[in-house]
C-alpha cells in the first residue's frame, strides 16, 4: 500500500510538471507572437508623403511665379515683382517687397494653412540664405526635409526661392 501511495505521488508530480511545462511554452509562444506582430506592424510610408510635399512645393512656386499681380503692380507677372525686389523695388505700390510678401501670405493662408501643412518660404539672393528679403514661416520646429528651390536669374545674380513643406 505504501509503495502504491509513493507511486501515485510520483505520477501526480510528473503530471504537474508536464502541465507546468505546457503552460510555460504557451505563455512564451503568445509573448513571442505579440512581440513579432508589433514589430512587423507597418509604419506610415514617409517616402510617399515626402514625395507628395515635394511635388506640392514645386507646383506652388511655379504657380506663384506665373500669377498675375493686381493693379498695385500694373497687372504684371509676379515673377517680375520678385525680381524687382532686388532692384529698384518700385514695380509695385508701395513697394514690391511688401506687395509680394502680403500676396504670398494670402495665398498660403488659403491653401497650405487650410491643408494642415507646415512650411518655410524664403526669397533671398544666392549666397545670402541667412538674410532673406522674404521669410514666411509656419512651423513649430525646423524642417529637415529636402526643399524645392527655384532659381530666378536677374542682372548678374541669382534670386533663390525656396519652399519647404511638411505635413503636420
Amino acid at each position: 500500500m505504501g509503495y502504491t501511495g509513493k507511486r501515485n505521488k510520483k505520477n501526480k508530480k510528473s503530471q504537474m510538471e508536464v502541465l507546468g511545462l505546457v503552460v510555460i511554452v504557451l505563455l512564451i509562444s503568445v509573448a513571442l507572437i505579440f512581440f513579432i506582430t508589433v514589430s512587423l506592424k507597418a509604419k506610415p510610408s514617409t517616402t510617399k508623403v515626402t514625395f507628395e510635399n515635394k511635388l506640392l512645393s514645386t507646383a506652388m512656386i511655379n504657380v506663384i511665379l506665373g500669377t498675375t499681380t493686381s493693379a498695385a503692380c500694373g497687372y504684371g507677372e509676379m515673377r517680375t515683382a520678385i525680381i524687382d525686389m532686388f532692384e529698384e523695388n518700385n514695380f509695385c505700390v508701395p513697394n514690391s517687397t511688401s506687395y509680394v510678401e502680403e500676396r504670398i501670405s494670402e495665398i498660403f493662408s488659403k491653401t497650405l494653412d487650410e491643408w494642415q501643412k507646415d512650411y518655410v518660404f524664403l526669397i533671398y539672393e544666392e549666397g545670402r540664405e541667412y538674410s532673406p528679403l522674404i521669410n514666411i514661416t509656419k512651423a513649430e520646429k525646423p524642417l529637415n526635409v529636402e526643399a524645392s528651390i527655384y532659381t530666378l536669374p536677374s542682372k548678374g545674380r541669382n534670386i533663390m526661392i525656396r519652399l519647404d513643406i511638411v505635413t503636420r
Partner: protein
C-alpha cells in the same frame, strides 16, 4: 507487475498526447499569426496602389488638352483655361455618352478646379460612389482667363473613389 507496466504505458501515452497537443496548439497559433500578417500586407499594398492611381489621374488631368491653356498654340504646363474647363464640364454633363469616354480615363473620381480669390468653382468631371473609400490630392494650377489674358491662382482637386 503487469499492472505496473500498464500504468507506465498509460503515462507514456499521456505524455505523448500532451506533447502532440502542445505541438498542434503552436502550429495553430503560428497559422493565425501568418494569416493576419498576410492580410495586413495585402491591405497595405492595396492602399498604396490606390494612392498611386490618384496621382496618375491627377497627372492625366494636368495634361488634358481639353483643359490646357496655350499661348500662340504652345501649350503651357500647369495651367487650366477657365473657359475650357467650364465648357468641358457642361459637355460631359449634357452628353451622357461622352461621360463613358471619360470614365475610361478617370474611372470613379471627381475633378474640381477652383480659384482661391474669385468666385470660380467648376466640377469638370464627377463620377463618385457613395460610402466608398476615397483618396484626395490638391495641387496648385494657374487659371487662365482669356478675356483679359490674366493668370489667377487656382487649385485642382482630384478625388478618387474605391468600392
Amino acid at each position: 507487475m503487469s499492472l505496473l507496466v500498464l500504468r507506465k504505458s498509460q503515462i507514456k501515452i499521456g505524455e505523448n498526447i500532451a506533447v502532440l497537443l502542445v505541438f498542434f496548439i503552436l502550429v495553430g497559433i503560428g497559422l493565425i499569426f501568418y494569416w493576419s500578417f498576410f492580410r495586413e500586407s495585402a491591405e497595405r499594398e492595396s492602399f498604396e496602389q490606390f494612392d498611386i492611381k490618384t496621382v496618375e489621374i491627377q497627372q492625366k488631368v494636368f495634361f488634358l488638352p481639353e483643359l490646357q491653356c496655350s499661348e500662340n498654340n504652345i501649350p503651357r504646363d500647369g495651367c487650366v483655361d477657365k473657359y475650357k474647363a467650364q465648357a468641358l464640364s457642361e459637355f460631359i454633363e449634357n452628353n451622357p455618352g461622352e461621360k463613358v469616354f471619360y470614365y475610361n480615363i478617370f474611372g470613379f473620381s471627381s475633378i474640381r478646379v477652383y480659384d482661391i480669390d474669385y468666385d470660380y468653382d467648376v466640377v469638370v468631371y464627377n463620377n463618385s460612389i457613395e460610402n466608398a473609400t476615397t483618396s484626395m490630392t490638391k495641387l496648385p494650377v494657374l487659371l487662365y482667363n482669356p478675356n483679359n489674358s490674366t493668370y489667377d491662382f487656382g487649385v485642382m482637386e482630384v478625388q478618387v473613389f474605391k468600392k
